[in-house]
């Protein structure tokens, strides 16, 4: 299993500012994933964070808006840049699933942009 600590758990931010979300895993993992869950919507993958290489972004998400760091095998950050109210969402960090294992999720960061 994996225990994921994510912080902050929630924040209220002014538009135009940036917020960095941290994700710490209690074991070494190759890939970490960042999801967004907008109100009433499903989880949408933003990007895959690989240690030692650039993050891989899904369609509709760009590095300038969501820069990601992955300095080691247990930690990653996601920054939401130049925020607007449309960025209000829950952001989730995840690891897995690998073969015959499950995915584990952080508790999420509830972001409100005003």
């Amino acid at each position: 299993s994996a225990v994921i600590s994510q912080k902050p758990s929630r924040d209220i931010c002014q538009r135009g500012t940036s917020l960095t979300i941290q994700c710490q895993v209690d074991s070494q993992v190759t890939m970490m994933f960042w999801y967004r869950q907008q109100p009433g919507q499903s989880l949408t993958l933003i990007a895959t964070a690989n240690q030692g290489s650039e993050a891989t972004y899904e369609s509709g998400f760009v590095i300038d808006k969501f820069p990601i760091s992955r300095p080691n095998l247990t930690f990653s950050t996601l920054t939401v840049s130049n925020m607007s109210p449309e960025d209000s969402s829950i952001y989730l960090c995840s690891v897995g699933p690998r073969v015959n294992t499950e995915a584990f999720f952080g508790q999420g960061t509830r972001l409100t942009v005003v």
């Binding site: 994933f33 895959t48 995915a103 508790q107």
Partner: protein
């Protein structure tokens, strides 16, 4: 492209009644299918996966490749089953999950 469809956004049943949460998927290869659950104020967690063919908390789900479905069933719902349920698909060779929009299950006393 992979897609997961959960047609019911909300589902309400009475305690002791059978419950079925529907999930259909679109994927050309052999998928791995999962059900994740999120109880109030808790993080998302795995409920079951089709590979293990196990029953968790009385829930079962059978992968029907002909109908491309992975419906979640429980013969007698309990109030503690009230939660948000997400069906998810993992394509072969990938660690990425594609989620459905979720179904909010409410079990009334």
């Amino acid at each position: 492209a992979q897609r997961v469809t959960q047609p019911e956004k909300l589902l309400s049943v009475f305690k002791g009644a059978p419950v079925e949460l529907k999930c259909n998927y679109s994927y050309s290869g052999s998928p791995e299918l999962f059900w994740y659950v999120q109880y109030s104020r808790q993080r998302l967690q795995l409920l079951l996966r089709h590979i293990s063919r196990e029953s968790i908390k009385g829930f079962t789900a059978d992968l029907n490749k002909g109908e491309t479905s992975f419906h979640l069933k429980k013969p007698f719902a309990q109030e503690e089953d009230s939660a948000m349920y997400y069906c998810a698909l993992k394509a072969g060779g990938s660690e990425k999950l594609v989620f459905g929009k979720g179904t909010k299950l409410t079990v009334n006393p």
